[in-house]
Structure formats: C-alpha cells, structure tokens
Amino acid sequence: MKQFNIFGNLENQEEKKYTTKIESPIYEPKNQKPHIMELYDNQKTRRLIREIDLSTLPIEEKMFLIDAARRHTVFNYEKVADYYAHSSKEMQEFMERSALVIVDFEKAIQHGFVKMCDDIKKQYLEEYE
C-alpha cells in the first residue's frame, strides 16, 4: 500500500527526484531547406553601407566602416543549421569553416553530456541515500 501524507505521495516525490528532465544541447535540423534569404537579416547593414557609400569620406575609411557595418547582420542559426543539413558537401565545408554550425563529431558532446548527468546522479545518491 502506498504511503500518503499531507504533502502528497511520498513515493512519487522520490521518483520525481531522479527523473528530472534532461534536455540535449544538440539541435535537430528540420526536414525542409529554408530559402537562403531566411538565414540572415542585413537590412541595417545595407542601410549603413548605403550611407557610407554616399559620404565624402576617403576610401580607406569607407572600407573600414563597411566591414564594421557587417557586425549588424543578424543570423538565424536555427535556419542556418536547417540549411546546412540540406546543402552540398562543398557548401557544408564552407559553413563549418566559418563556424556557422558546430558538428558534434562522434557524439562527443551528446554522449558526454548524458554520461556527466549519470555520474552526477550517482554521486548525489552516494552522498544522500
């Protein structure tokens, strides 16, 4: 027979303590390849570049400002990862070199994370059981 008290079901509470949700850090790309224009928003960058171009500044200053303006381009890294998953080998390699995605080789992060959680749980139980 299960035990009950005013604070609820003790057995369920014990169970809950060890079944905390574990969320993987790995992103699962979607099945559909997004349009490349969905990956980034460069409106502010283009506006700045247009104004820089129209200015009377010397060319080397313009070049500096134009490179700096690119810092305002917003990337949607979920869409970027979706795009990567449906791209050619050559495109994938450039995307990796530019760190637009991080490939979890041999599931080092995914499996390592699960092992770390298991080991911490064992240590916790050793200290508190």
Binding site: Q13, K16, K17, T20, K21, I22, E23, P25, I26, Y27, E28, P29, R71, H72, T73, V74, F75, N76, Y77, E78, V80, A81, Y84, A85, S88, K89, Q92, E96, A99, L100, V101, I102, V103, D104, F105, E106, K107, A108, I109, Q110, G112, F113, K115, M116, C117, D119, I120, Q123, Y124, E126, E127, Y128
Partner: protein, 274 residues
C-alpha cells in the same frame, strides 16, 4: 586528478575569501591558489593568511596593455586581467586543467527539481565535469548560479552561456575581452565564432548579491551603474545583444541576449555529407 587546481580570483578581500572556506566545507581537498594582482594593497595579508606558495601575483598593468579592454577608461579595478592571467599562471605551475572561481561563493550544490543540496565531495564532482570537458573539445564550462533558476528549475541542460566559474585548460586558451561584463562579452563574441561555452544546470553555486559585497568589482558597479557594464556586450555583439531592465532585489539594467542569433547550433554528425 593531479594535473588540476582551483584558482580563486580575488582582490582586496584577504580576510574574507568566502570561496576558500566553502571549498573546504564541500569536501574539496586539492590545491587552491589565490590569484591577486601587484596593485593589491592586501598582498601581505593574503600571503600571511594563505602562504606565499599559494598566492600567485601577476603584473596587472602589463596584462592591461596586452588585452582588449573594450574602452579607454584605464580603470584596472576589474577582474578581466586576473581571468586572462590564469592561463599563464597554470602553465608556470605545470598544471593543465584549472577552474577559475570568484572569491565570494558561499555554496556549491547539486540541483534537481526538488531544489539544491550541498555537495559533500567536490573533488569527485570536479573530476566528473572535467571528464566531460576533456572529451568534448569545448572551450569552457561553468556551474549554474542561483539566478539561473529563478522561476523554478527548468531541467538539466547545457546552456550556451558561461559565467563566473570557468573550467579551463592550458591547451584551450582563450582571451576574455572588455574590462567589464568580461564573461558575457567573451561567451557571446567567441561563441558566435564557433567556440563552445556551456553552463551545466545540474550543479549550482551561489554568491553574494551583485553590488552588496564590499571590495572586488562592487566599487566599479557603483561607479557607473550596470548600464556601462551591459553596454560593453552590445558594442561587441550588436547584432544579437540589447540592454534591458532586470528586476531583482537590486533592479538594474542588464544585457539581453537573443540566443538563436548569437551561437551557431550544435548538430549531429549524421547531417554532414561524408
């Protein structure tokens, strides 16, 4: 682990290094080094309290001249110099792995749905985290902070931020940037370029509230409020970080990060065409 040590980064608090006591309370038995700068007026007290061999002093001005402080304030009452000095100090000591801690932690705990419980064997917990760190080629990983769990525990996960406590290796050096908000500046800018930083929510540390503990960075925050602090990160990562209001015991301006637009996704190797 014999190639590992704890570094406590401290300034002007020789008689109040709370983290040192907390480490012992939580069962840590390994080496601890106090990292101080050569402009600290309490150098003698640190040496007296912790022993000369355990106090590592670095040249703050020299470090300031070699890094990107992100401003021209010429204010060295900040922690970034100590953070960057740790890699060199570890090399000199012949230590490959180290964790950087602030000096005001009063708690290290496990964190589950049911709340936090104090860690009794921190040696083993550090070993477990370093096992993950060594095998996954990430840049750094941190323990979560009490503030990460405001509103309730949202599960065991690896957040892409990395603050306060940094597990590091001399063979994966990186440079902290921006004289204040250096941790956020670093994990956002380097994170956007492919470095992987994590916070592990299954473990938690707690420290004195920002701006309530005398010494350390507190004077700096009182001087400029947190607007200047937060805005350093906006300067460095203008496409995905904003400044917004954070309500807590001490309401203040704070950085607001759009994560989807800051760090590239980590994906399984199966999506890569071989």
């Amino acid at each position: 682990m014999n190639d590992f040590a704890v570094f406590i980064l401290t300034h002007g608090r020789a008689d109040n290094v709370i983290t040192f006591k907390t480490l012992k309370k939580c069962g840590y038995t390994g080496p601890v080094y106090l990292v101080i700068d050569n402009e600290d007026k309490m150098t003698n007290e640190y040496i007296k309290n912790f022993g000369e061999e355990n106090v590592k002093i670095f040249d703050k001005k020299k470090m300031a001249d070699s890094i990107d402080e992100g401003n021209n304030f010429d204010n060295r009452k900040v922690i970034i110099h100590a953070r960057n000095a740790c890699f060199e100090i570890a090399k000199e000591l012949g230590i490959k792995y180290f964790i950087q801690l602030d000096d005001d932690y009063y708690y290290f705990g496990y964190r589950y749905d049911t709340g936090a419980k104090i860690i009794k064997n921190l040696d083993e917990v550090f070993r477990i985290v370093f096992d993950f760190y060594k095998n996954s080629n990430i840049t750094s990983i941190a323990l979560s902070q009490g503030g990460d769990h405001i509103g309730g525990f949202s599960g065991i996960k690896l957040k892409r931020k990395c603050m306060n406590s940094f597990f590091c290796s001399t063979d994966r050096p990186f440079q902290f940037i921006g004289s204040i908000n250096e941790d956020v500046n670093t994990y956002t800018t380097l994170g956007s370029r492919g470095h992987v930083f994590f916070t592990f929510t299954n473990l938690q540390l707690d420290q004195k509230d920002t701006q309530s503990n005398k010494g350390g960075m507190t004077d700096q925050y009182h001087l400029s409020g947190t607007y200047v602090k937060s805005f350093h990160t906006v300067m460095m990562q203008p496409n995905s970080v904003k400044v917004s209001m954070m309500n807590s015991n001490h309401p203040r301006l704070h950085h607001s990060i759009n994560w989807k637009e800051t760090t590239p996704m980590i994906i399984d190797q199966k999506y890569k065409i071989q």
